[in-house]
Amino acid sequence: MATSRTADKKGLKLSRPSKPTVIIPFTPTMPDVNLLPPRVFDAVEAAKARHRLALAGGALVLVVAGVYLAQTAQIMVANRALDRETAKSAALEKQVRNLTPVKVFYAGVSAHKATVQKTMAQELYFSLVASELSSSRAPGVSIDTLTVATSADPSAAAATASTCPAANPFAPAKIVSCVQFTGAAPRRENVAAFLVNLHKNPKFANIYIPVTDSGDAKPVTFTGSVGVTEAFYTGRYAKDTWLLKDVAAK
């Protein structure tokens, strides 16, 4: 019977034929009368609301406290890590400080090397200039005086070189120094041969003999100049290997 009522309540349609109606016997009970005023119900509802709000507030406090604790732990961990890194920094900085003189030494040696290279960049093989000038002499020609100068300053060297007149005024060769010389020869033909020999040497340029005189003791004396090209630069300090020999000797 109870099943039938429940099924009816839920609106289920049973295929079976309905059972005969059962009459529930009357049971006498107390009447359900609510005598409480509405404000009591309001107070109850309000109390429930306050209770819920208090729970929510408590939960919020717990959440905030949890976050605070979690953050505190995070800060502590981060502080420890920072302390570790700071301590490591101090140790590393000390190491770097101790090693800095090594870097300074390398920089000093490098600067020393550069200074030597720059200072000696204009070095000429004067011995080669003198020997090649001498070997260009024609038979009977002697060189009595020779003056050659250069400068550590490239612009000054150019000024010196400009004093060396060129046989071809339209295309004077680039020279780095000028050799002034005087000499003697039996005849001017010998001087001409000397000039030809000088012209054959590619290391010389701007060759010129402006004066030839004849005298009694020496039939022909002459004064001339010859330009020294860059081929006479030693260039040895510019090479990467210029110090190797000296280092190997140590």
Binding site: Y68, Q71, A81, F105, Y106
Partner: protein
């Protein structure tokens, strides 16, 4: 029941909870987060510095390991441009160069190594004086501080061949000798006089790290 009273309670309570939540967020959570972030940044910065320092140490250690070779280079440079005028070695070296060229010591008529002057030789170069800043010549300031020039003059007598040999030997001295002017003249047949000018240099010594205190 009065719905409004319950609603009021929820409203006031909700507002209070939201207010507390916001206050907590602004005055408790956020400052802590900011602090944690700040510490994290500091840590990251310290880590970056440490990484840089570590790489510097690696590089410097490599340099330190190469010190013996660098000392040899420094020593070789100190022979080219020594730390002092070192006149005894200079005089001996030139006499030996002349001797190898077949010129006796009496054939060296004069040899004048001038006192070193600060900087590369120029009209602006001056002798150093105690307590005074070094004068700067034509060279850049750094060079002028570390470099001094010694003018060398030499007069000698011999044959033309001996003069050329002397020049070659002077060019090949272990100490750098920048010859700037050569005058050769012959007073009598086969006998020449050479008047030579040039520069030798003195360089401020480079401090060896081995001599420094740790």
């Amino acid at each position: 029941m009065s719905f409004n009273k319950v609603r009021e309670t929820y409203l006031i309570g909700g507002v209070a909870i939201v207010l507390v939540a916001m206050l907590s967020l602004f005055f408790v959570v956020q400052p802590r987060m900011a602090k944690a972030g700040e510490i994290g940044d500091q840590r990251a910065a310290a880590e970056a510095v440490n990484v840089k320092s570590a790489s510097q140490i690696v590089a410097l250690t490599q340099l330190k390991n190469g010190l013996p070779g660098e000392r040899l280079i420094a020593a070789a440079l100190a022979v080219k441009f020594p730390a002092t005028a070192d006149e005894p070695s200079l005089l001996r070296a030139i006499v030996v160069a002349a001797g190898k060229a077949g010129i006796a010591e009496t054939g060296i008529k004069s040899l004048g190594p001038a006192a070193p002057i600060m900087g590369v030789a120029s009209s602006g170069a001056k002798l150093p004086s105690a307590g005074a800043a070094p004068a700067t010549g034509a060279a850049p300031a750094k060079d002028a501080q570390d470099l001094a020039t010694m003018a060398i003059t030499l007069n000698a007598e011999g044959s033309y061949t001996q003069m050329i040999a002397l020049l070659r030997n002077l060019e090949d001295l272990s100490r750098s000798f920048l010859i700037t002017q050569v005058n050769l003249s012959s007073a009598e047949a086969g006998k020449f006089t050479i008047a030579l000018q040039g520069n030798m240099y003195v360089h401020r010594p480079v401090a060896d790290p081995g001599t420094l205190k740790p």
